[in-house]
């Protein structure tokens, strides 16, 4: 028994630790950073890690540790809100499709999903930024749009199996309409699933934000973001590799943390699903 418990938390604990660490860094950055990230000091640029600047300084002489802390806000916020958009639009669409399963509304929603899926994610981002200009908000929208069909499909799929269950039948007999059943009975039963998928989409969102910023479609200066730090450092890898090393490591650890957390949550919330992907 003890070993199963340990196994159960094997992913959850390190995952939660990493996630809390980086969220914490982002929150702390509102009150305190070792150095100001808005002041440039060209003379102090590209210092290697030292006692004063623990992780060194970037190409404008800003403290990399402070930049990472402030950058965490952007990167986490973009991915988080994008997941929110996915949930906000995707879940109701999925619920609706499931309650009208087989009907034209279902067909319409599912074909709409196919349509969005048919566009490669980066192409959506390129189109949006071409129209509205690059920026954190547009990165959120681009990533968010892609999250919608993910949640819609998941919600629909999970709801469909529930609709045949006895307790739903009972609710129907009691005279509740589809919308009420969806909200009162279906939704609570798929919450765990949504939380797990949300964590996964969150980690994908971090990667997407990094990628978008890397090609210049994400947050704009002077707002630091992890992806932008990578983009700024790409021409400097031959002279100052630490400029690219630390932001990249932070991204890897955050994504890793979120994935572990997702796996851990699945094990914890729903032992039946336990299969460590």
């Amino acid at each position: 028994m003890a070993s199963t418990t340990r196994k159960r938390f094997r992913n959850l604990v390190p995952g939660a630790f990493l996630v809390v660490l980086f969220f914490g860094a982002a929150i702390v950055s509102f009150f305190y950073t070792p150095f100001d990230v808005e002041t440039l000091n060209i003379k102090q640029r590209m210092l290697t890690p030292n006692a004063v600047n623990w992780l060194g300084t970037d190409h404008f002489g800003r403290d990399i540790l402070s930049m990472l802390m402030v950058g965490a806000r952007t990167s986490l916020a973009v991915a988080f809100i994008a997941v929110g958009i996915g949930l906000l639009f995707g879940v109701p669409l999925g619920l609706m499709a499931a309650s009208y399963r087989g009907g034209w509304i279902d067909e319409f929603i599912m074909r709409g999903n196919d349509l969005v899926f048919a566009f490669p994610a980066l192409v959506i981002a390129i189109m949006i930024t071409a129209v509205f200009g690059p920026g954190a908000v547009n990165a959120i929208i681009a990533i968010g749009i892609f999250n919608i069909p993910v949640f819609a499909r998941l919600t629909r799929g999970a709801s469909l199996s529930l609709w045949n269950r006895e307790f739903i039948m009972a609710a129907r007999v009691a005279g509740k309409n589809s919308a009420r059943i969806s909200i009162e009975h279906i939704l609570p039963n798929i919450t765990n699933l949504l939380i797990v998928q949300g964590t996964i989409q969150f980690s994908l969102g971090i990667l997407a934000e990094a990628g978008l910023s890397y090609v210049g479609l994400g947050a704009q200066p002077p707002t630091p973001s992890w992806g932008r730090m990578l983009a700024d450092s790409q021409t400097l890898t031959t002279i100052a590799p630490h400029l690219a090393l630390f932001p990249g490591m932070v991204i890897v650890l955050t994504v890793l943390g979120l994935n572990l957390l997702g796996d851990g949550l699945r094990d914890w919330l729903d032992p039946r699903l336990r299969r460590e992907r």
Binding site: G102, I126, M127
Partner: protein
């Protein structure tokens, strides 16, 4: 089945029509036009207008939309505004980079993922399983372009085994071309291999728990025999689906990697053309990619329906 086919074809066409409308509308409202871009800062307004007329940009939007769509139906994708060459030629040239890149990345991913996934599944819970799971967990978390940066730094700059990017063309020989694609393919393959290994492992474990495998084992097959004789074949369906998805992702989703290695592939073509407001190229290439994805989805659906009649109604 016929009705199902009819329904799916109708929705395929509807998706493409809607997609073409979306693409055209979005690209049309992008600020900036190709003529001004090409002529730069010193050009006068009448020069810009003259070039617009020459490029056919002064026609209304509706005739241009229909011109574009009917051209595509005839296989004519128009002529690039800035390069002045047929879009179809440009695309086929770019495909000669993107396609081999996607194929080699996928091959590499499969070659890495299969042994890893099989090994992990056959020794579930053991040390090998843990190591494979840890590596793949990391592989999924590493941004491929960041990984690519280090590959360039080590293999191209420090040791100079490979060139840091660019594509010399296939006319210098097959291996010359493949050499240029090696680093990008590795960068692309790492996360894909990790995903694939995980999917393979879990789908093998699923199958191993199914009744018929248990029966087989009860009949005296060892776990490994059961794995090879029964599970692998049945576990392939989800794996193949993922591979299909990965292929279409790799074809278009290599944009960032193509940028890191400045490979003249399809993704970078979109990127470049939108910067230059070479709208016809952007529109046509996006439509091609959409068409590819939609077609693959369609074929997969049909194949499923053919295999499993239950799929024909709903899901």
């Amino acid at each position: 089945m016929l009705f199902y086919l009819f329904k799916r074809i109708t929705s395929l066409i509807a998706t493409l029509v809607v997609a073409s409308l979306v693409v055209f509308t979005v690209i049309e409202v992008v600020p900036g036009d190709p003529a001004s871009y090409m002529l730069g800062m010193n050009a006068s307004e009448d020069t810009v207008q003259a070039l617009k007329t020459e490029l056919g940009l002064n026609q209304g939007r509706i005739p241009r939309y229909f011109g574009w769509v009917s051209g595509m139906l005839r296989g004519d994708f128009g002529t690039s505004y800035t390069y002045r060459t047929p879009v179809a030629d440009m695309v086929s040239e770019r495909l000669m980079v993107s396609l081999p890149l996607a194929l080699s990345a996928l091959t590499l991913a499969i070659v890495l993922a299969f042994p890893a996934g099989l090994l992990a599944a056959s020794r579930r819970g053991g040390a090998v399983d843990s190591i494979v799971m840890a590596i793949t967990q990391l592989g999924v978390a590493i941004p491929n372009f960041w990984f690519a940066m280090w590959l360039v730094l080590l293999f191209a700059i420090k040791w100079q085994w490979f060139s840091a990017g660019g594509f010399p063309g296939w006319d210098i020989g097959f291996w010359g071309g493949m050499k240029a694609l090696t680093l990008p393919a590795i960068a692309l393959a790492l996360p894909q291999a990790s995903i694939l290994a995980r999917v393979l492992r879990s789908s093998l474990l699923d199958v191993l728990n199914e009744d018929y495998v248990r029966t087989a084992r009860a009949k005296g097959l060892t776990r490994r025999q059961a794995l090879w004789r029964h599970a692998l074949r049945n576990a392939m369906i989800p794996v193949l689906t993922i591979i299909g998805l990965q292929f279409s992702f790799l074809l278009a989703g290599a944009i960032i990697i193509e940028n890191v290695f400045f490979l003249p592939g399809l993704g970078r073509l979109i990127f470049q053309s939108i910067a230059q407001r070479d709208l016809i190229v952007v529109e046509s290439v996006i439509m091609l990619l959409v068409f590819a994805v939609v077609l693959v989805t369609f074929l997969v659906d049909i194949a499923y329906a053919w295999v499993d009649p239950r799929m024909r109604r709903g899901h």
